[in-house]
Symmetry: C2
Subunit: 125 residues, 2 copies
DNA sequence: TCTTGACTTAGAGTCAACTCAAAGGAATAT
DNA sequence: ATATTCCTTTGAGTTGACTCTAAGTCAAGA
């Protein structure tokens, strides 16, 4: 699979795919004899994982560290586990923050709906 | 309340508080005759709202627009409602993305826990 | 063979959201 | 009155995550 095809399949620009590889967020991608990227199953799994983690807001740095540990072999299993647990912790915090803000937005929205219907504002900010 | 006190109360640096005011993410703060910021109840409400929205990841730009509309008066009520509804939509998407990633992290973590216990890796990435 | 379009790298540029530095004014303790 | 500490503004610098540019290489069709 060419970089263009991967780009379309995963909705990630070719620039970003090269960037991910360059900084080590995914391992080096398989190449043709001419030096052109030819993504294999294995490579696509990494791309997909990277996309998933990034879309939730996990830092690029965390994925780089994970890939680095992964490539070091089985001795880093506990370190990788710890990294994943930490990132899960971060996501849980982030989600609870979003929930708090959603509750607040819902409240404000319900107030605004009344205000827009009646043309009257019954409170402040 | 001085900027320092607000900074400590809300865990926002004084630099960031001044930045928020400068870009219009909160309305101009009350000043003493000497030109020094003296946060009133009203000002603190805005600070708190800004902090809440930012901690959920809402863009500064959205808050700026909200404040702008707010200061324009009651004629902008529908526009403000629409802005809030859009931002809620964004947060809901963001949360569902986090949930997806959490599910995946949980799966990986459970696999890693087995692997670390047995000292054996039973699968790939 | 020639052209066209996609591929390559290295390195510079952009954007959002801060964060810091410089230079000076104000309020309080001694 | 002087020192200290906190306040002010303006404008520049930093960080994370891309995104773009330049200069060149490769591969498929006319």
């Amino acid at each position: 699979m060419t970089i263009k095809e991967v780009s379309e399949a995963y909705q990630i620009t070719t620039d970003t795919l090269r960037y991910y590889e360059r900084v080590g967020m995914i391992p080096a991608v398989t190449r043709t004899s001419g030096g052109i990227r030819d993504y294999q199953e294995e490579d696509l799994k990494w791309v997909e994982l990277a996309k998933c983690m990034r879309s939730a807001g996990l830092p690029v740095e965390a994925m780089i560290e994970y890939v680095r540990l992964f490539q070091e072999g089985d001795s880093t299993l506990p370190a990788r586990l710890q990294l994943l647990v930490e990132q899960r912790e971060n996501l849980l915090k982030q989600r609870s923050q979003i929930d708090q803000t959603l509750a607040r937005l819902n409240y404000k929205i319900s107030r605004y709906e009344v205000a827009v219907r009646t043309g009257e504002l019954t409170w402040d900010t």
